[in-house]
Amino acid sequence: MILDTNLVSAYLKQGAAEDGRRVFVARCLADGSACISMVTKYELERGFQKVLYGGDDQAKRGAMKRLIELKKFLESLPVFGLDGRMGEGWDIAARLWAAGRACKPSVVFEEADLLIAATAALHGKTLATAETKPAMRLLPELASRARTTLRVEFVTA
């Protein structure tokens, strides 16, 4: 199960324990199915790094501690990239993008959504996301047109 960035982010945020996203991620961690895309790792790391680079000394010390907690957390999860099998994941992403653009009206994805979806398709994983954009609902159909298979599980708060 590839967890989308929005799910990991919701899991890390202090909030209601019964939030559906938190419950879902906790279940995936418990049964060992949780993994993430390299894109999610990149997005989370750059967000934490930005805090580290921006603040005063005291803020930096706090940000450093949190960055290290994040890194330890991410180190404990399998992380999948697009580069395996001679970069085939990038080919899948290109086909997904083109399949979306060929629709009338065209379906446009944010880059992260597209690359994470392609990562899940490449590795035969289900993509779990809390994303509510209509384009995400079309992903399985577009994947089929793009000559690949993608299962998507939508998780709500």
Binding site: T5, S9, Y11, L12, K13, Q14, L29, A30, G32, V39, Y42, E43, L44, R46, G47, F48, K50, V51, R61, G62, A63, M64, K65, R66, I68, E69, L70, K71, K72, F73, E75, S76, E110, E111, A112, L115
Partner: protein
């Protein structure tokens, strides 16, 4: 394969004095000269614990004396009592960890230290599993120095271990706890870089290779709990703003 360097052919140690006490008196006498240059390098880093240039220079300056000690330790490891020596060196490292953990006290930093030490132990388990196929006498100091220059993974390992040695020294001297914390954090980042570099070369070292799934879950839970406790709303806004919407942004 991990290259033969003073760090990799020798033994893990944060407290050099404790390591030296394990050596027979005649061997200890041979490396008496190493105390001053190592102390000088540690002093330099303790004056600027967060400065990467100082860490690079100080850890490099300490390489020759540490290398001399490690070559003696490597001789012990090559002896018939290999298993006993190895167990004794590991217990040294555990004692170093206990002392430093007690000094830094903060649960998050103690946990980061545990990650670092677990990685180092995993590193040596990997190295020692190949030790019988390495001709230690063929690893001259010049070759060792050249290897360290060439390998990014070995350089990160050198810096990471030396940062921990300095943190350990700060604990022994009862100096500033914040400096020791900074050094543990720096060590983590260096050792993480080392882990990635070795993984890239095909050697995957898992810091907690023997843990059960329950232990892993518990460990991850503690990371998340600390992040939840300390992340502010404005930091979460920064995280949201860091989403990748376009490769051209």
């Amino acid at each position: 394969m991990i290259a033969a360097t003073p760090s990799t052919i020798g033994a893990p140690a944060l407290d050099v004095d404790r390591l030296l006490q394990r050596l027979p008196a005649d061997l200890r006498a041979q490396v008496k000269w190493t105390r001053k240059p190592i102390t000088d390098a540690l002093d330099a880093l303790l004056q600027s614990p967060g400065d990467p240039d100082v860490l690079e220079a100080a850890s490099r300056n300490a390489m020759k004396p540490i290398g001399a000690i490690m070559q003696l330790v490597a001789q012990l490891l090559a002896s018939p009592e290999f298993a006993v020596q190895r167990a004794s060196l590991m217990s040294n490292l555990e004692a170093d960890q206990r002392d430093l953990s007690a000094f830094v006290a903060d649960p998050g930093v103690v946990d980061t230290l545990d990650w670092c030490l677990s990685f180092i132990k995993g590193f040596y388990r990997e190295v020692w599993s190949h030790l019988q196929s390495v001709d230690l006498s063929a690893v001259s100091r010049d070759e060792v120095a050249r290897e360290v220059d060439e390998s990014a993974g070995a350089a990160a390992f050198r810096r990471g271990v030396f940062a921990l040695m300095a943190a350990s020294e700060a604990a022994r001297r009862r100096e500033c706890v914040d400096d020791a914390v900074t050094l543990v954090n720096v060590a983590f980042l260096e050792l993480e870089e080392c882990r990635h570099a070795f993984a890239h070369a095909g050697v995957v070292i898992l810091p907690f290779a023997d843990e059960t799934s329950e232990q892993r879950l518990h460990r991850m839970g503690s990371y998340v709990a600390r992040m939840r406790e300390s992340l502010t709303d404005s930091e979460f806004r920064e995280l949201d703003a860091a989403r990748l919407t376009s490769l051209r942004e």
